[in-house]
Symmetry: D2
Subunit: 348 residues, 4 copies
């Protein structure tokens, strides 16, 4: 069982990376005989404590398998049968979760075009015209991604304003935080600054893209929304029987700042890549590089050439737009080697 070794470090996704050694060790360490199933174990108690330590005493964390699962469980808490979600057109829930929101939740996503993946207050208030009209779905949740799908990051203030706007209209604020760690690392702030203290109601906290094997959390900050999680997590196929092994992953990330260390490193590698691209002929960076993603327009010939050796994806092939992702295990050498090949490909 050997991985194809003809490819150098992947720039396709932070999901191509493996598991951080500390997390693998934590999994092994949790394998000490019996433990109650479904979360009644000590590792899950520790995880729940870590969530409260990080996000405040009212925060309740629930471990799940993957990001789409975290989003669906989190959203389900807040949505009735005729409610709708306002989100950017680029939202992961709207584009890359195979219609789970519509199929599993039965909700309409009111998608808003944005220049950079970030929702503005006016994007909310301008979508509320149908409130009270029985012919229209009723907006109930605003969902944003932090980091956005375009690699950009909301400031704490921006999130606060969105939360206030949502709450004033009787809506909840949900954050898809598959890369929340990368956002906090970029902002050099605490996780709670962009969640609890910004007025978020429910968010997902991603572990997998940040070094875990498969571990995400639904975190509920608004206590009235908590009661349904156990039932919705089970029904949504997101309840791990041997949960200790999921919880141990999350606890490890949340302990001693490993989440920040991994995210900061991945961000730095994207920064290094972006800096190296400066001035290369035919290459332009499309969005501000604020996390571990670089979106760049690249000449077709160069992209074709690079794809012979490297793994990465077109974001918009017609536009010549590619997405290059770094991970916790991307090294300076990986980036520099890649930059060398990019330079060759563009004839620089």
């Amino acid at each position: 069982m050997l991985i194809n070794s003809t490819f150098p470090k992947s720039f396709a996704s932070d999901n191509h990376a493996g598991v951080h050694p500390a997390i693998l060790e934590a999994i092994a360490a949790a394998n000490t005989g019996d433990a109650p199933a479904y979360g009644g174990d000590d590792w899950t108690a520790v995880f729940e404590d870590r969530i409260r330590a990080e996000f405040g005493p009212s925060a309740e964390g629930f471990a799940v398998f993957n990001g789409a699962g975290a989003n669906m469980v989190g959203l389900a808490l807040m949505l009735g049968r005729y409610d709708a979600v306002i989100c950017p057109s680029s939202a992961h829930i709207a584009t890359h979760e195979a219609g789970a929101a519509e199929r599993l939740l039965g909700v309409k996503l009111i998608t808003v075009p944005t220049p950079d993946g970030k929702l503005r207050p006016d994007d909310i208030t301008s979508r509320l015209g149908g409130i009270g009209n029985p012919h229209e779905v009723q907006p109930r949740v605003v969902s944003i991604s932090q980091v956005t799908e375009l690699g950009t990051v909301y400031t704490p203030d921006e999130i606060s304003v969105l939360a206030r706007t949502a709450h004033e209209e009787g809506l909840f604020l949900h954050v898809d935080g598959a890369r929340l760690a990368n956002a906090a690392a970029f902002l050099d702030c605490e996780l709670r600054d962009i969640t609890t203290d910004a007025g978020v109601d429910v968010f997902s906290f991603g572990g997998t893209k940040n070094g875990a094997l498969a571990a995400e959390a639904v975190v509920v900050l608004t206590p009235s929304l908590t009661a349904g999680v156990p039932f919705l997590r089970r029904q949504s196929l997101q309840l791990a029987s041997k949960m200790r092994f999921i919880s141990a992953q999350l606890s490890t990330l949340l302990m001693d700042g490993l989440w920040r260390e991994n995210a900061r490193h991945a961000n730095a590698m994207a920064r290094r890549l972006a800096d190296g691209l400066t001035g290369l002929p035919g290459i332009t960076i499309e969005y501000p590089v604020e996390s571990n993603a670089v979106f760049a327009r690249v000449p077709t010939d160069a992209a074709t050439e690079l794809l012979k050796r490297y793994r990465f994806h077109y974001w918009d092939e017609k536009a010549g737009l590619v997405r290059w992702m770094t991970a916790f295990d991307t090294t300076e050498e990986h980036v520099d080697e890649f930059l060398d090949d990019i330079r060759k490909a563009v004839g620089s």
Copy 2:
């Protein structure tokens, strides 16, 4: 992070056990740098080969996170909007998956009372009266559990007859195989004898209860049903991004007969427990012990006494019926110690 050590070996569930060392090693061994996400990796290719080796060249295996996920993805392949599933009243999908079948699939489960968790051909044919009647749901799938929720096992012939009955009526046969390994170990047959060769269309193959961390498979034997799996697995929140770590678990179980070794051992421990119960005053075994479960009626006082020290569940508290499960890591000493305490509890 220490587990509560005041309890001896749990007899509550095979989910209380940890991870088999070989599986933990396989996970660690898969952590060698990059791999494509979502199943494009070498470990998943190996897993798919192992499935074909075990179940025949038409078998297609798809790794998922958990048993309810495997059931929902598998059933979704066969069910249209007004179709229904015929299953025993005791079926896991009907009793312990939090209504996922109704909510996520939108289907009615036509539940049939059985004496022992096993469906008979007449249980199918007697439920087909509404076919063609637009006021009634249309049976499309027969779903059985192998091992059943009551610990009993279908013979290959019994499954063949159910498959033939289903197919003659235009229905598919689905098997919830969360403990399929235990059934094959009990029958001392190949896995394919109770699946491929018995005419099953789709089944789930459980890893978690048999020593994995979190790994199950949806296996499709009827090729016309395969095309939808990738989409339904994604939509059902069951697509692991770092899939190699799930695939590696399943491959390990399927290699060198580890699945059989683990299951055989767990079954033997249940047998040992059942044998030890023989003749104890006030204790009767409720169902044939054919897997790793012992269902026993126990005097209330004795059960209360035992629950002070041991973890196990009442199956039907009013009836004084308990379920004792063994696992791959239950030892003879565990069983004998438990039997000692049972004997004391019943004053024998």
Copy 3:
């Protein structure tokens, strides 16, 4: 366009009857030029007043197209994503609405076998064992049919006790009142005696089987449940654009006791039929005749003979059980002619 006139009066269903002349007149009278759509019209205001007059000042009535629609809208008001409904196995929502409850509401129906279609308090309390267990659906609504599918009727006291039992456990009581008028006529009570005053939360009030063209109402008695109706009615495809013509039908039934007159007559015809069956060889009446249905066991030869001339349905063909329904327009002559032919068929 002529109806097949070779059949005498149908005993198959009260849906085979036409429209009561007063209702047809009311429809024509409502056709006076413009009226606001979707319920903003005067006829709907009158209907809403009639509902309050009949069921009390807190009652809110909402007109819909058909019985299944009334049931689904009514139940949707009370059910969250992981909630379940306890109902008799014979319930219309469980047997003859083509899986709408599972598909449209996503809920599990916990069906309880009953001897006569009527639920008892113990049928509720014995199904609550899974409350709080995240692996199980959570009972939230008890749904009964008044008249039941077997033609039997709950007394006001029986409903009160069910309501109290449900409420004590935090559940709601829903009544499928497709034939509520027949029940009140049989009990010689007011409609409110078996709804408002008995503690019902939400019920449907059927017009179609009692002489309307197509008109049913969802009536909400628990004010906190009202807000969702307009949205759920629209989403459930049950909002009539030219609603005045639905409302006018319901108002006519609710005016001057037409509902009671029609129901009482239909009931009397069933009574006359049942009385005429007494002592006929081989014929036994299966359930108490308390409404406009007679369930009888009939010798196969006789049933076969009768089906050559008459329209009616087997309820259970293997058991030789037939259902004979009467309607507002069944006459004594219809019944007597039918009885004559029954007597001949059984050789009496």
Copy 4:
């Protein structure tokens, strides 16, 4: 029961109109004693014949209650669990059916902005990039409205090209024909020219807005899609028990060209209104007037003034855009009186 008579003829909606006398007569004429329920009656047989006469021998018509019902049943025939619908952003199914598509069908609507409510072939082909990608929903149906929500009309050629484009990509073409009659009247063509002969797979044919009380049809032109209709219609709460009264309405519209007469008249009244607006200060017509709708930008003061006397809706209040609808019973006098008041309101 008197309608508020202080308002002159409504220009708010063709749903404000009453029932055409011929249709009311047909309903009364169908009230001749018994008829089998659920469509087994003679009037429904006649309706089915009329559908075949109008749309060709393969056309199968199914009567339902309302337009949203016709759309949901029609779409359900073509959509699997991970399929999606491509439609204009202005589509009724996307904007004014309270999220029924997402909730009842579980599908994502891929909405395409258009200048005039009309989809172009490129709007289809440019949305197919995710086909085969398990992270994305799979487009399966193209749904257009004829007449569009903006009052515009597709030519037979335009529909043919859309059908060909859809079919080449393995998609179906669905038409929301709530105002199909108005389109055919405008085009002066047969109904089959814009449905059967243009390659449409499934469409809804609206009766209510064209003079019926409450009657629409789902018409299936692709025979392989027909089998599911009875079950889906029942499950979708759209099966009328006394169906003869729905069928009779539709047959009347389809007999002797009443559908065309009513639609042509309504269209002519919109034309007359639009012509009368020409040159009025501050008033501009927004979309080509091709049916019974006039979309006009009107000075705020004038609109406010007119709303004191007349019923009509803003389409976009901020933009000063109003929608004025005519109906089968709008008279020249109604239009001229309205024009007089408009002229006064704009000070002309």
